[in-house]
Each structure stands twice: as C-alpha cells, then as structure tokens.
C-alpha cells in the first residue's frame, strides 16, 4: 500500500481525490428508462469514441449510450423493477458494422426491426434502422447485456453493460430476506487488447484475428486504476461515467454485484472479510428455489466472462480484540450502548461492545519510525485524524480504514505494464459519523 499511494501522490491526483469525497458515490448509477404505458422503454444508441488511459494512451472504443448522450464504457446500467415489460430501442449511430443486443438470463426476448443476424436482429448505421427488443424482467438479480453480432470483436470493443432487476422488496436483492442490504455496489470487470482497438481505429477490420488476445488493460466499471477512485460522472472521463470507490459504515450489509463483462476470468479479491455469494447468473443459489441455502462464503470471486455474481459483504470489527474507535483515554470519548436490539453491537455506531475501551494490544511505533501511505489518517482508530509529517497522508478525509479490492491476477493491476493501475479499487470503512451518500447516509 505504501508505494501505491506514493505513486498516486506523485501523480498529483490528491487534489482531484480530495474533491470527490465524501458523497462521491451514490447508489449504483444507471438509467431506469421511460414509462411507456405497459412498462419502460430504453432508447439506446451505439457509437464510437476514444477513452483515455492513466498511462497516457487513448483507446478507440465502441459503446452503447443513452440516445442523445455520449456512448459509454460499459454501457448504461439498465435498472428495472421485477415484472416490468422492457422495451429497448437500439439505433446504431456510427459503428461500421451491424450491432445488436443479447440479454442472457432473460427469457422470451423478442426482436423486431433491423435485419436478421446470426443470433438476433441487428441495426446498421448505414441503413439507419432501429431494432426493438422486448422482454419481461421476470426474475430479480444482476444480469448483463452485450452485442450478439460478432461478439468476439464487439464485446472486446466495449459493447456490453449491466442490468439490475430489482425485487419487489426494497433493499432486498432477491425474493429472500437473507439478501437484504443497506448499500450496494456494482463491479463490471473487463479488459482491452489495444492491438484490436488500433486495428479498428485504422480501418483494418478484416485483419483482426480474434483467436489471439493479449490484453494489457484491465477495467473496473470501464475505468482503470486509479481512475476507479474518482466519482461517478467525473467531467474528465466523459465516456466512463461509473466510479468504483466503495464506502460503508461498520455493521452495514453491502450488496456486491459483479459482472464478468469481457472475455477473461478475473479473481476479484476482497480484502477485509469474506463475502457471502448467494446468486450466480441472476439465480439464487438454492436447493429449494426459495432461500439461498447454497450460498458460499469466500474472499475471492472467480468472475467468469458473461457470468454474474451477487453477495453480501459485511465488516463490523467484531473480535478484533481492541476498540476500533480507540479508548476513551486515547481521546475519542464514546459509549457502547447495546439496548435494542441486543446483538452485541452499539445501536448507533455498530461498535462491538465486547471490545469497547479495550486498548490496541501493541505498542504503536513512533511516527519517525513509520512509513506512511496516502490513505493513513495518522491514527489506527476509526474516525480519528492525527498529525502526519508534511506531504504524508491526505487521502483519508474521515479517518476510515481502507481495504484494497482488486483482481488477484496481479498482472491485472497494471496499465500497459505500469503499476499501479488496472482492476483495482478501495472499500473504505468510514466512521458512523461520516456521511457517505447524502441520499442514503
């Protein structure tokens, strides 16, 4: 972590970073469509753009976008209520091949308009036609969509996105109470082989050989580390609107939705705690079709291309053996009130009361003996800020604890061989007093 944050600071990203927290990442960003009388309609277009990479490169991409808005990578996240009849009108603006959409996990998808392709109806930028896909979002969960036209090329070029189908119960991923959550994050994982994108940019489509792929960029929500830390809709990333920085308070249940968006598998490795994965491909992992009795606890999600995963991640500080807020004598005066419900945790702060006012069981080193990272607040205690030497720290506004969430295929932590970067973000455990999302504090 030390060298990592050093690099970030050298890159002078600190100013930008400071400008984006707190309240940087509201719930999952996406579009909910326009009510059309029978359900909702999404009007999407496909077009070409270049996206910047943190190593200074620029990569030609093809992407879906909301009609009238720029294309984006990944495509707009479609957020739909279970049972809604969905209409997607797709118009190919300027991609020099026909394009289309497939919706794995959705049943009874019908396609009209455009011309018939290998798998479904396709839209041509020359003909200017529009394809209409309709289906009913029968099952809640996390899904994906992608092009069904020459998918080996077009998904690589960026034509993919996520779909979230919300269950009938608010803040519950599936129709099972064990999938209740307080906060949710989506991670769409993908990669780019710049050679293919160069060939497309230079008009060499017939020379592209999709039997070979040598990716050098690995994306989280369409961004490369450290761009992953920046807020949603950052103005300098006009085609990459989705950030990946995750924040939570102790005791919250965080729903993690993962989509394998590219053509490689990625081991998404969650530091800090295990995740209880209870759904795959938008289907509850269940022996009886009702409850998630086949859920699996793991610390790495093997995210396969095209597949989706849902799980609950929690962090409480339970049984760390010391008071995460520090002792009262240490300066942060606080109580631990476990009245209702009696669950071993403070009713407000979710502090683990058995460890209340317990000293950290080591002698903390003096500051002159310590190497710091940009994410160190100066204190090991949640919500505590302390002095640091000039030039140290500065990326931790609330005294939070940082856990790196990343691909554990370590080469994927680079941008074209430059470390750090790639498929990497942070989960910040923020003190209960910190406002994370103004709408959902």
């Amino acid at each position: 972590m030390y060298s990592l944050s050093k690099v970030f600071k050298r890159a002078s990203l600190i100013v930008l970073f400071l400008g984006c927290t707190p309240g940087a990442n509201a719930a999952i960003q996406g579009v909910t469509g326009t009510p059309d009388g029978t359900g909702v309609t999404f009007n999407l277009t496909t077009s070409t753009s270049n996206i910047p990479t943190p190593d200074g490169n620029s990569v030609r991409m093809w992407g879906y976008g909301v009609a009238g808005s720029p294309m984006q990578y990944p495509g707009p996240t479609l957020i739909i209520d279970q049972g809604t009849q969905v209409t997607v009108n797709l118009t190919n603006t300027n991609i020099p091949m026909k394009v289309s959409m497939l919706f794995p996990g959705q049943e009874g998808v019908s396609a009209t308009g455009g011309t018939a392709g290998q798998f479904t109806q396709e839209s041509s930028s020359v003909l200017g036609d529009t394809v209409t896909y309709t289906f009913t979002a029968a099952n809640p969960g996390t899904y994906t969509y992608y092009s069904g036209t020459q998918p080996g090329l077009q998904i690589e070029m960026g034509l993919m996105g996520a779909i979230i189908v919300r269950s009938g119960t608010a803040d519950q991923a599936y129709n099972d109470p064990s999938t209740q959550y307080d906060r949710e994050y989506l991670f769409v994982l993908s990669e780019v082989d710049p050679k293919v994108h160069q060939d497309v940019e230079f008009g060499l489509l017939p020379m592209i050989n999709n039997t070979v792929s040598h990716s050098t960029f690995w994306f989280m929500n369409g961004r490369l580390g450290p761009d992953t830390f920046f807020p949603d809709n950052s103005s300098f990333l006009p085609n990459q609107p989705y950030g990946s920085l995750a924040q939570m308070h102790p005791g919250e249940r965080v729903l993690i939705r993962v989509v394998g968006g590219g053509r490689e598998g990625h081991p998404l490795h969650l530091h800090g705690n295990n995740i209880n994965v209870f759904a795959r491909d938008g289907r509850l992992m269940s022996s009886n079709g009702v409850s998630a009795d086949l859920a699996v606890s793991d610390y790495t999600i093997q995210a396969l291309p095209g597949a989706t995963y849902d799980g609950i991640w929690e962090w409480t500080g339970e049984q760390l053996g010391w008071d995460i807020y520090g002792t009262n004598a240490g300066g942060q005066t606080h109580d631990c009130n476990d009245v209702a419900p009696v669950d071993g945790f403070d009713d407000v702060t979710s502090e683990y009361c058995a460890d209340h006012d317990v000293e950290i069981p080591v002698v903390l080193p003096e500051k002159q003996e310590t190497a710091f990272g940009g994410f160190y607040s100066g204190s090991p205690f949640l919500g505590a800020l302390s002095d640091l030497p000039p030039g140290e720290g500065g990326l931790n506004l609330n005294g939070g604890l940082f856990f790196m969430w990343h691909s554990h295929n370590e080469r994927e932590l680079t941008n074209d061989d430059i470390y750090p970067g790639g498929m990497m973000t942070m989960m910040i455990i923020e003190p209960h007093s910190a406002v994370i999302d103004p709408g959902n504090p």
């Binding site: 069904g148 020459q150 039997t211 491909d281």
Partner: protein
Amino acid sequence: MKIKSTKTALASAIALSLVSATFSSSLFAQDYYLCAKQGTKTMSDTTVIPMWGFALATDAVDQAAGCAAAITVPGPALTVPVGDNVLNIHVKNIDLPEAVSVIIPGQHAPMTPVMSAPDAQGRQRVISFTHVASMTDASASTYTWSSMQPGTYAYQSGSHPAVQVQMGLYGAVTKDAAAGQAYASASTAYDSEMTVIYSEIDPVLHTQVANIGTPNEPKYGSTGMTSTIDYNPQYFLVNGDDSSTGTPIAGAPLQTSLIRFINMGLETHIPTLHGDDMAIIAEDGHAYTNARNQYSVMVAAGQTRDVLFTPPAGPGDYPLFDRMLNLTNKTPPFVTAGANGVLTSPGSLVTVLQVGTNADTDNVLDHKDNCLLEVNPAQMDTDKDGFGNACDADLNNDGIVNTQDIPLFITAFQANSQLVDLNEDGVANTGDIPELIRMFFTEPGPTGISN
C-alpha cells in the same frame, strides 16, 4: 452434433451388445474395437490438418485388417448399456509413430504406467499412464474397466497426452443410470440427449507432429515447437466441426434435453445459453446433490459437465456459444458482405439450439417449415410465397391447384424452371408430374411460415 432420441440410443446400444458382447462371469461386457490411425481433417477454410484419431472397427477381424473406417475426431461415441459394468476397449495402433493407450479419467481401472529408459543419472520419466499399443505390436491391446459408473466421461490417450490428445485421440464415453436417466436421482431424467465436445486445433503443432519422419522439416519436440507452451489454437471445434453453423434440435417445448459438455481442448470454454437457463446436474461424471441453475457453465480442459435444458412452451432458437469468445477461426476471420461493410464470421464455438415440434420429421421444425406435412429438408420455395415447392403446385397463386395451373406447369417445365421441381430433386423433370397430380384440387401448404 450427435443427437439421438433415447429410444434410438437404447436400440443402438442393444444392437452393439448383440454384435460384440462377450460374457465375463455372469455379467455382460461391452466391447469396442478401435484402430488408432493417422488421418486428416479439412477445415472450413479448406486447410487440411493432419490428425491422429480413433476409428471404430466393426469387429476384431476388421480391426486386425486395419479398420475399414477412417478416423473421426472426436473418436467414436462409446456407450455402455445400463446394467453393464464392464467395458473393454481393444486398441490396435495401425500407423501412429508413438505408442498410444486409452484412459478414462474418473473411471476406476488398474493402471500400469510405462517408464522411459533410465538417463545417465538413472532417472526415469512416466511416458504413459498405462500399458501401450505400439504399431509394431502384432495384436491389439485391451483396456478394461470392470466397474463402470454412470455419467459423462471422456476417453483419451494416456500416452504423451499433451500431444496425443491435441492430435485427436479422444472421444465421449457415456453410461446412463437407467433408461432415459443420467444419474441415480430421478431428477436427472431426460427426453433427449446430445453431446457437445469442444476442442481446438493449433495447425502448427499438428504439422510439426506430422513431420516426424520427414527430413528437413521442423519437428515437434526437436527442431520445431518444443512443447505446447506455445500452443496457439487457430480453429475452435464443436464435435469436430469448426464452422458450427448447424442448428441441432434440442427437443420439443417443455421437454428436457440432457446436454453433455466435454472439453477436450487445452483451453477453458464457457458455453453460455441465451433465452433460458440450464440446470447443471453433474461434473466429471459425478452428480451434484443439488442442481445449479445458471445460464453459463464453465467447462475446464478435460472436464465434463452435464446440464438439463427444459425450454418453455412455444418454439424458439436458443443461441449457445463460448463466452470466452472463441467464436472465429483465424482465416478468414471475417467475410465482408452486404452494405455498411457488414462483417460476418464463419462461426466457431457456436451452436443454436432449436426448439419446436416437427410434424413431418424432416428436421425442419414446424415454425420454420414451409411444408408442414411434407418431408422437404431442402425447403425449396422458388416462387418465395411461403409455401415450399413440395407442397405448392399452385403456380398462379390463386389458392387452389386447378386446370389454370397446368399451362403454367408446362411452360415452366419446358423452361426447366425449378418452380415446378415439386419433388425437390434439383431439376424439373417427369418425376414432378405425379406430384402435380397428387396435389390437384388441393390448396398449397400447409406451411408453418407466417407471411
């Protein structure tokens, strides 16, 4: 794509038993006679690839004579009938320069590994997992499994497998727990089954292996590739076909198809279904306690996964393709066609599962069949009115075949127009006249195509 109804599978299995079964104690044993031979495979781009493979002999005599049949890759599908515990595979190596063998990962068999000669330090390497069949052997080698478990398995060479499996020495071997039921649990019952074997071909590797014995050409293992670490597949195959444009029939609506996925390539493949999900019931021939419902299933190299696919009511197409996106071969990766510089690919690890009814059993499902009650697999419809030629002698398109159509028939007949090729043999000839008479005073059709 190997598709057969349970009934046929059973019938052929019984037939094979009658032909080749021998008695082993009180139990039936299933015997297969295979030849390991050289051969070739012609790819969709006309490239001819040297292959090694298994050919199925009709009996021991045919095998001793070198097998009349050519090799197939994948090798012959071997089935062990319900109730049989013993499988014997007799292998004669006809002309492969390396000794070969047969193993079935996951099935119990006593193994007798073959070691290389000691090197200068006295060290030996395993060169075959079990006893081998060499081209210098006078008789076939026999491989026996005496407690065959139900499930989906692959047989493959157990000798120098990095090369020999890639060269094509593999195939499917299956056994059901009961008729129409894959495993012990009744929840694994099925109405029809298909086997989907994925593999890849690196043409350089095949050429260099075939060069063994040819002077001055790069040879695998010496003057060419030293190992499969440089493996770079350029063709991706479903059941040995690299242009998988086929559209197999996965069965009727609401009926259950068992799809046996086997990956005999060296890379991972992730068949992903579009339009429905699948119940994954088994892995490597072992049933899960609880089926897993997913739309995608990872099949690692050498692995088998079994899924049940039960489509909803109504006809439909269900694309099934490798989400690792091995969907094009190297040459030509693209074919340019049509306006807009539209590019299409020849297709690779792509299968479209067709679901529907098939009243005339011509393998064109009713919802796509332009003659619902005529066997017309070619689906000729020269006047493009939605009624196939086989059920359309209504040449003036007035809705009835009558005397007004006769002059049109004669004119078209004299012009040798396919319009009156009513029996779909490719030409307008006297064979079409009885068809005209048969359809006289009837309406065209019926057709399954709405327009």
